[in-house]
């Protein structure tokens, strides 16, 4: 790295911040520039649908890397700066304000954006939730009695539903699929979550297509395919996220459900890497299956790994996918990819907590999904994650016997 144009990271979310700090931890001494479109220092997104929405105190961004920490690490953070073009020949990026910045290695950590609902494009009552500013805008509306419609029974929508109920808002969730959380969450666990929302007074409508979204006097009306309509004061669209790939695509990099990278998070251009929500990568654990993960821990881990590989480490990503969700007093955690399993074994942890272990045809443990009050399932999910990483094939009898400690299976 003699030229010292330095390292440039496009995207100052959890992933980009993690990469910037990791470059220093790895001993890199050249220039590090972290460019983000948002005005804030890098912050954690998970609280946005939860505490930042429902806590009494005015929310503040929870920094993933505070300005002080970035300064101490000698990272230049360009806030509110949009990168328009990557010039791979010149090895420069151009920003919206006309500046050009050279790089030795570039990391694309542009994240994802809420998927848009074309029917709702014209509505002034429909919003999405991705950024801290989005959260503030939604929070400003949430008062007792304000009717909230949520399109999409995924994590963002359901977490927001729980927060809105805490604040005394009537809430209706509209999901097109036959059940909530169709993608990546087993039916038994989705049922538990659905029941919790029912008990809290949320109207969850599943299998309901939407044919129109209309702004009406003082509110918004959603017409359903079955002829019914629901009305609210505010509508949040939570129908998933799409990777931010425009910059990479325009630079001629391969796109495959995200910026396509190899196991080392490197794109087809040896000087350009991608990590976090915006990239798809082969997961060795599942035979090289190409996945894209929208999860906090993945963003952090891939940012750190990309930093190492930008410095030439050549390490492959081999972490087990993992994420959590909190709704009411329930905590959900999933390690691995449940759809890789063909058989399910249940461990009853008592006190309304259980874990499903997902086994492949050859008996290998490929995923574990659990739900329970607070963090009741956390420790066993963590141990399951270790078993998954080791490609272990524990006996189904032992997995289902709550008095067999998972730690003992790890030692075996």
């Amino acid at each position: 790295m003699g030229s010292e144009a330095g390292m440039v990271i496009v995207g100052a979310g959890e992933c980009g911040a993690s990469a910037a700090l990791a470059l220093r931890e790895q001993g890199y001494a050249g220039p590090v520039t972290l460019i983000g479109a948002e005005p804030h220092p890098p912050y954690e997104r998970p609280p946005l649908s939860k505490d930042a929405m429902a806590d009494e105190a005015e929310p503040m961004p929870k920094h993933a890397a505070s300005p002080q920490r970035l300064t101490e690490a000698g990272v230049t953070h360009l806030a509110a700066t949009e990168v328009r073009v990557i010039d791979r020949q010149a090895k420069t990026v151009a920003t919206a304000d006309g500046a050009s910045l050279g790089y030795d290695r570039l990391l694309i950590a542009t994240g994802s954006s809420p998927r848009r609902l074309p029917l709702a494009e014209g509505s002034r009552r429909c919003v999405t939730l991705r950024t801290f500013d989005d959260a503030l805008a939604i929070r400003a509306h949430l008062r007792a009695g304000v009717r909230v419609l949520i399109v999409g029974g995924g994590f963002i929508g359901l977490e927001l539903a729980a927060s809105a109920r805490k604040l005394g808002c009537p809430v209706t969730v509209i999901e097109a699929q036959p059940r909530i959380l169709m993608r990546g969450v087993p039916a038994e666990i989705a049922e538990t979550i659905h029941a919790a929302h029912g008990s809290a007074g949320v109207h969850v409508l599943c299998g309901k297509g939407i044919v129109a979204v209309e702004d009406i006097t003082g509110g918004v009306r959603i017409r359903l395919a079955d002829g019914h309509a629901v009305e609210g004061d505010l509508c949040v669209i939570g129908i998933g996220a799409v990777p931010n790939v425009a910059l990479a695509a325009a630079a001629g990099l391969a796109i495959d459900n995200g910026v396509a990278v190899d196991g080392n998070l490197r794109t087809g251009d040896p000087d350009i890497f991608a990590a976090g929500d915006c990239c798809s990568f082969p997961l060795a654990l599942y035979g090289g299956r190409r996945v894209r993960l929208e999860a906090w821990r993945n963003a952090q881990e891939q940012g750190a790994l990309a930093a190492k590989n930008m410095l030439g480490a050549g390490e492959a990503h081999d972490a087990v996918p993992w994420f959590w969700s909190d709704q009411y007093d329930l905590g959900l955690q999933i390690a691995g990819l449940p759809d890789e399993g063909v058989e399910t074994v249940c461990r009853d942890l008592g006190a309304d907590a259980f874990i499903l272990f997902h086994l492949a045809a050859d008996g290998r443990l490929v995923a574990a999904s659990g739900i329970g009050p607070g963090n009741a399932v956390a420790r066993d999910i963590r141990l399951a994650e270790m078993l998954i990483a080791r490609r272990a094939a524990p006996s189904p009898e032992k997995l289902s016997a709550a008095d067999t400690k998972l730690k003992s299976l790890l030692a075996a």
């Binding site: 954690e44 993933a64 963090n375 956390a378 963590r382 141990l383």
Partner: protein, 104 residues
């Protein structure tokens, strides 16, 4: 002089494990190491207020159950992001099969 409080019986905690102990409006985590020593720290992670007793003990590390931040529970040292603030530790002694901690 800070008070010594009886937290639990020594065999309430498995080796290489942790339990929660609440006292006087505060919450603590009491650990038994793989080499059968006892330690105590504040009960909540310094990142977000999550009970560490729901986490996993691995050798001299406690891992937060929510975000996988890690501390050395013997020294309180923060060992892995997102935690960056050390955990407060408390003196522990074992007497007649009871675990006592000195809460300051």
């Amino acid at each position: 002089m800070a008070e010594w409080i009886e937290a639990c019986a020594a065999d309430d905690i498995d080796e290489e494990d942790v339990i929660r102990f609440d006292h006087g409006g505060r919450t603590f985590a009491i650990y038994r190491s793989p080499d059968d020593e006892y330690f105590a720290t504040d009960g909540l992670c310094t990142h977000e207020k999550v009970h560490l007793a729901d986490g996993l003990v691995m050798d001299d590390i406690i891992e937060c159950p929510k975000h996988n931040g890690r501390f050395n529970y013997k020294t309180g040292e923060a060992k892995r992001p997102p935690v960056c603030v050390d955990l407060r530790t408390y003196p522990v002694r074992v007497e007649a099969g009871k675990v006592l901690i000195q809460v300051g």
